[in-house]
Symmetry: C2
Subunit: 188 residues, 2 copies
């Protein structure tokens, strides 16, 4: 029996592709094994369990998304940085629907790497909001608002939740401008 030459990295990478193709909910070890040319039990030589695989996807996806946002915002400031970050977030999520779904699971509080990666996302947004001269607690509120907005919009869009025919792209832009207005007129 010739070896397939798998490594944990290869398994995870193909799992990510498969998840983006068929949806995270349809990512079965059976399908993954078939894609890798291997029998399902063999995967356990590289991953601990189906759930552990999902947790790896989760952390990896969060990391990539945070990097993407950071790259988009670098060299920009204030409203411009917010626009770039928002566009990058939406674009990444639509390009990687399976991996994006993975980021929706709550990070395991016992997994230090998972938690720190989750905080990295918040850190990127916080940095972009620094130009708006908010207090610490205001900045946290504003970060939560922006995350809620982005996550809510993208997941509704991905789920086909916007039934009406009106242009979704344009709504996104208008909405981000509205958030910038809100940031500039922050009250509480």
């Amino acid at each position: 029996m010739p070896r397939a030459g798998l490594t944990a990295a290869i398994v995870v990478e193909q799992a990510e592709r498969l998840a983006d193709e068929v949806g995270l909910g349809n990512l079965s070890l059976a399908a993954l094994a078939e894609r890798l040319g291997v029998r399902p039990p063999s995967l356990y030589k590289h991953i601990a369990s189906h759930d552990a695989l999902l947790r790896m996807l989760e952390t990896s996806a969060r990391f990539d998304l945070a990097e993407t946002m950071r790259d988009a915002a670098v060299g920009r400031a204030g409203a411009d940085a917010v626009r770039a970050l928002a566009a990058a977030y939406r674009h990444w999520a639509l390009e990687h629907p399976g991996r994006y779904s993975a980021t929706l699971r709550a990070p395991d509080p016992h997994d230090r790497e998972a938690v720190s990666t989750a905080e990295r996302t918040v850190g990127v947004i916080l940095k972009v909001l620094a130009d708006f001269r908010l207090s610490d607690s205001q900045a946290i509120d504003a970060t939560r608002m922006l995350r809620s907005m982005l996550h809510g919009f993208v997941s509704l869009e991905a789920a086909g939740g916007f039934g009406m025919p009106q242009d979704v792209e344009s709504t996104f832009h208008v909405m981000i401008e509205a958030q910038i207005t809100a940031l500039e007129h922050w009250k509480a």
Copy 2:
């Protein structure tokens, strides 16, 4: 063998309770059958399939949530109506986590009732926004914004996505006020 006296309505109702207790992802027909004092195959006398059950939960939950929002907003106008609607949305979602999860699935475009119930939610929000004197297309954008915000916040909150210890309740209020500000200064 004495009969359990089930009906489709009873099965769905208990499925809703079970989903709220154990999470939508853990709603198995085996667990539901046990709760109803019946063997799993017997459920098929009342529901077509596991997926069909989920779709019934989906429509029922969307309907209830829309009614809850409508009730909260009745007799109020403008910013006040938005505040009441937002609070009702969040409260319902936190009280019914399993049923709320069910509303996240995209409605089957072929199921007329599912689609019309989904539109009902949009209709309630649109009506509340009528006081803000927006054009038709502006109102649709604003509705999408509010839905995104509410859905994003609630699902992040329910998933434990807000890691920081800062008060989540207070963030929600501040955020809604920010949205009202944005509605009052609508530009595009």
